[in-house]
Symmetry: C3
């Protein structure tokens, strides 16, 4: 399958990647294209990227993390992307930039050659008569699109995706494969959703009720809201974002969620916030902008975190946080035998503290 | 797609929701229908529901949580559902009930208008020749149904569901989309399963064995049981319930599981128990009735929890619990700098306790 | 569907299971086939397996865990698999083996009768013109296979699987249903992948960058590597294994992952390592061989664990481990009221320790 070169315009970045497939660049070309200072040979041919330890003579390595500085002397990389300070004394070909990691991301994208997707709807896909699919969108095998949903130009709906009613997929967004948008889910532009993610499932709302004979049981709270995802968000594999009970669950722009993340109903996530794998945010909680939530961390419902809060891995946030900074809970990893002793003492901690303070008091009274 | 009005009877609740689409009700009609005391105008027209803060003049708000009582004075809601005590002095239109939250759930269901699903099997679906699909069931696009499986009247098998061999889906149950029932999975009536859930995968059973040359490796334990899910259960998105090794994994009736929950093989979950997102219950554990398991909590294998045990978020239960009540583990969230100090001391806790008690002993001996 | 008896050879184990469907064995036959010492009647007919408590007179029970020894006296099992020491004095029919649990796994496999899968591609499946599917492989309903991917002899691609570009599925491997291999995923032989698993999604790599107006935003790091899974691995339902950024994410042979596990990009997992449900391993971490990672445990990125490290459930490993053994973090489960007291004291722990040590120092100076 090749994307037609016709009217339907994919994103510029995507076109570039396709056009450049199997291409190579001289170090001089890279320096010019990305505005880098070149130190050394301008004709070295680069056809890929790698780590300092792994890159070969036609690959570009990079030095961003100082911990790897010692590898610079031995690298076989054809050229290395690094900071001015690291370039001094480096005998190889250097491309110099103040921020090697971000620049590496840009250059590596040249070599991220993806299969292009032909515009059009695959014959095995099913599109409801009331749905709208732009001429330049791709709808893959076994995808289904429900009533009144709209797929914008350049969007890619991968194989096995199931889109329900009243959803929107913005321009140049991609649902990689087997993504579900249940209902009332609106994605902005350039949103990337990985396989198995489920957006717009019912929020988890139940209330104890009684039946006619007075027996208690759960009654489901209808979930009448939707999900809104801003431009440039990325949603990891098998991540779940429930739709709101009365209003929408919201991700502002450029939010980055790793795999197996759970976002409860009516959560609001500020722009540029990133969450590592297995994070869970309970319902109606509001997370600020530029927050970083470590893997496996949890945030209880109905609280808020201000901007620029970092939560370390597997911590549980049980109260609102109003000061930017780093927050943690849990205990350090220990060998099991030592841990058992500490754990047993944790249970006695109040008594221990009382003993100490009681004695203090005692000491003060009877010095 | 419109459900045929013919013989195949969907659940009464579902019919009602469809019939009422785009309808509105006067406050008088709501009072009569749900047996509520009406205070104020009986002709106010209600066409939706909302929060006290968000509801407009044609919407019904509700006051269940006392924390929101202050919003009552300023609400723009056309009417408010509340308790007798809160109705006193309220100037707006009030619908009075002893349990506003459960009543809100009932009334909101009037406005939860869903696309109805036509009875019949979608042309892109695949049904094994030995499977049975009731005339009034709906089987959506790209669904597949394996040998000897049975889909009862009023059941909905959404797009992309994969049902294996020897499964049963009870009357009026719904698999929303992309649900997998691997094999020997039996769902009761009115069970709701959200997208991506996997029921009946192999339990995780392995034993160390040796090959002919004496080298150790894992040998898989065959998983010969199934999964049984009682009436009125709800299973969240991407939740997994493994089938049993020798006997069945069981959920009694009205069990409510949120997203990304893991239920190991041979677990037994009592009626009305609810688990929030990302909970994991290890194999062969027995959970009582009306238990509430907080988000991210874990329960190890081969233990039991009696009825009405509440486990707070991200706690780990490592022993059986025989007394109803609330249980917790973990440490509080702290700023990282303070936490590091406490965490370092946690490792020394046994020594600290010995120092205190030793001194106590010392003090007793040498006062 | 019945697998043709023709040329395409499924694995021997699989053929056997099919051939033996609805079969029964005498205790004498079992003793001979598996090299067991038989004590008692050799003509007892066995047509299934069960627990000591649940097995009936035509079923084989087993005693591996000494905790169940008391059930031996009352079992109704037609025969029992047990150790020599337990066989003494047992009045029933005994099949004696040094390792009853592993032997039970072998014998139970006789009764694990699965639907066989016909060789060939289901008419509703989609296979890219450049993909290769072996004549003896099975490709189920609504599966799709992308460009240049290869499916080997005896492999089973279940319903709804989506395989992207440049993937390989080795001989006799099985993707049960709705599995996604995104791109550049290579599975060895006899790999079993459960429904909803996602292998080869983009690793979670982002770098802060600035746009032309100097505003910060995330830039995605291209993920140019793949995933390699060794022979005899098992991957649980809804588990995610991301592909590497520059090199591959690797599972050596015989790795066993339970459901909802997260394996970050460039992780390397040694042979025979097993991880229980909901474990998360962050990027670039290296796990040794024969490690056992308990349910819900986490391991941070860029560290290593040596061989034979056991991590208990819901522990977080934040540093490299160079000694085999068992490791833990967390605190014990407590009733909530007691826990609140200990938790409050945890926050004061540094002060408490200083008080104790300060007084110690004081005592030493002013005895």
């Amino acid at each position: 399958m090749t994307r037609s070169n016709g009217c339907s315009s994919p994103s510029a970045a995507r076109s570039e990647a396709v056009a450049l497939a199997t291409s190579a660049f001289t170090t001089g070309e890279l320096a010019t294209r990305f505005g880098l200072r070149l130190q050394g040979d301008s004709e070295t041919l680069i056809d890929g990227v790698g780590t300092l330890a792994g890159a070969g003579p036609t690959q570009l390595g990079f030095l961003a993390n100082p911990a790897y500085r010692a590898q610079l002397a031995d690298t076989l990389a054809g050229a290395v992307l690094l900071r001015e300070a690291d370039a001094e004394g480096f005998a190889g070909v250097a491309l110099v930039t103040p921020d090697p990691y971000a620049m590496f991301a840009r250059i590596a994208a040249l070599f991220d050659v993806r299969e292009s997707r032909a515009a059009g709807v695959h014959p095995t896909a099913f599109v409801d008569a009331s749905a709208q699919v732009a001429a330049g969108a791709h709808v893959g095998p076994h995808a289904s699109i429900g009533a009144r949903s709209r797929i914008a130009e350049g969007a890619i709906i991968g194989p096995g995706c199931a889109i329900g009613e009243d959803c929107e997929v913005g321009a140049d967004s991609e649902l990689v494969a087997r993504v579900t948008l249940v209902r009332r889910v609106r994605l902005g532009q350039r949103v990337l959703v990985h396989p198995g993610a489920v957006l717009g499932a019912d929020g988890f709302g139940i209330a104890v009720d009684k039946d006619d004979e007075g027996r208690a049981h759960w009654r489901k709270i209808p979930q009448l809201g939707g999900v809104r995802v801003g431009d440039d968000c990325e949603i990891g594999a098998n991540t779940c974002i429930d739709r709101g009970a009365l209003e929408d669950t919201v991700l502002e722009e450029d939010v980055r969620l790793d795999n197996l993340v759970q976002i409860g109903h009516n959560v609001h996530v500020g722009a540029h916030t990133a969450m590592a794998g297995c994070v869970a945010i309970a319902g109606s909680t509001r997370i600020g902008r530029w927050c970083l939530i470590g893997g496996g961390a949890g945030v209880v419902g109905h609280i808020h975190l201000c901007d620029r809060v970092t939560v370390t891995a597997m911590s549980l946030v049980t109260r609102s946080i109003d000061q930017p900074g780093e927050y943690s809970s849990g205990t350090p990893i220990m060998d099991n035998r030592s841990w058992r002793k500490s754990a047993a003492r944790f249970k006695q901690l109040d008594g221990l503290a009382r003993a100490v303070h009681g004695r203090d008091k005692n000491n003060r009274e009877n010095p």
